[in-house]
């Protein structure tokens, strides 16, 4: 949910640009056509927020627990970040394929990894339409 306030209008209303709601990872994947790269990892978790960044230190600093992380990075370290920040899952964009050791470790650590052919801007827009927000 986006908050818009102006100084000239004290107490301006909080304007929601999206119909903020929770959705299961599984539903998001079905509706947006993602491929699950970790078939043995449960995807029943509910998601309310997301974060998009390819800089791992930035994700470490600014993601919040439960975020769905949208990134183009595919190496093993993304699993470490997801574990450290308790993220609900990782979505790889632009059709990027995770490295084999990334998938292996993600399966072990129960971090679901999805894949979409769409670029970040487009998939984040679609997630927002479905009610997943970036509010911190």
């Amino acid at each position: 949910m986006e908050t818009i306030k102006t100084k000239s209008e004290p107490g301006a209303k909080r304007i929601s640009l999206a119909g903020e709601k929770k959705m299961k990872l599984k539903e998001l994947a079905e509706q947006l056509g993602w491929e699950l790269k970790t078939p043995n990892v449960p995807v029943e978790a509910e998601v309310r927020t997301g974060y998009a960044s390819d800089l791992l230190s930035d994700v470490l600093a600014n993601s919040i627990e439960g975020d769905l992380w949208v990134t183009r990075q595919t190496h093993l370290n993304i699993v470490a970040i997801a574990v450290m920040r308790d993220l609900s899952g990782i979505l790889l964009v632009n059709g990027a394929q995770p490295e084999p050791d990334t998938v292996e470790k993600a399966a072990e650590k129960m971090v679901p990894i999805f894949r979409t052919p769409l670029p970040t801007f487009e998939i984040v827009g679609r997630l927002y339409q479905l009610g997943i927000v970036g509010e911190r």
């Binding site: 800089l55 791992l56 230190s57 470490l60 190496h75 093993l76 370290n77 470490a80």
Partner: protein
């Protein structure tokens, strides 16, 4: 990725010997990557400008965005990039990284990188040295040529050998690790 790019610069500069040296210092938390060639080198004043993306991508064909991006990656990880070159003698690129920095991407599959470089350029000699806290792995095509005799470096069996030998060698010395990050993944 960066290493492949930098070596490609060396090949474009018609190097006949490319030396890649990687050193991981776990105590000091440092990673040093050096690529040295005997190519035609960079003319004096241009050496300072090869890491400028606008300069390099516009005027010189053999140096693309590889060096500016390599420099950016090093600096993002509390390191820096050095370029030393002498026209007609060769070029040396040294990148320093904080080994354990979150934004430091893994080195990638060095076995694959070297296999592609060596078999794709059988007329060029390569030396690869990787040191982790005093333990080291080494691959040298000049030695391989002696052993192989009439078999060329572009033979498919050589590709296979390089890939496996590098992977095995690096594993043995504990190379390309992410100590801090790996603890989370244990």
């Amino acid at each position: 990725m960066h290493i492949l790019d930098v070596v490609q610069n060396s090949l474009a500069a018609r190097a006949t010997l490319v030396e890649v040296r990687i050193r991981e210092d776990l105590q000091k938390d440092l990673l040093r990557i050096e690529v040295k060639d005997n190519g035609r080198g960079i003319p004096g004043e241009l050496t300072r400008r090869v890491t400028d993306p606008f300069f390099t991508s516009r005027t010189t064909r053999e140096v693309g965005l590889g060096l500016p991006l390599f420099k950016e990656a090093a600096e993002r990880c509390r390191g820096h990039l050095e370029v030393e070159s002498q026209e007609g003698q060769g070029t040396k690129i040294i990148a320093h990284f904080q080994l354990d920095h979150f934004d430091r991407a893994p080195l990638g599959d060095m076995g694959e990188t070297l296999a592609v470089l060596i078999t794709g350029n059988p007329e060029v000699d390569f030396l690869y040295e990787h040191e982790v806290d005093g333990q080291s792995y080494r691959l040298e095509t000049r030695e391989m040529r002696e052993i192989l005799g009439s078999v060329g470096l572009d033979d498919p069996s050589v590709l296979c050998f390089i890939r496996q030998d590098v992977q095995k060698g690096l594993k043995k010395i504990g190379a390309a690790t992410f100590p801090k990050i790996m603890e989370v993944l244990k």
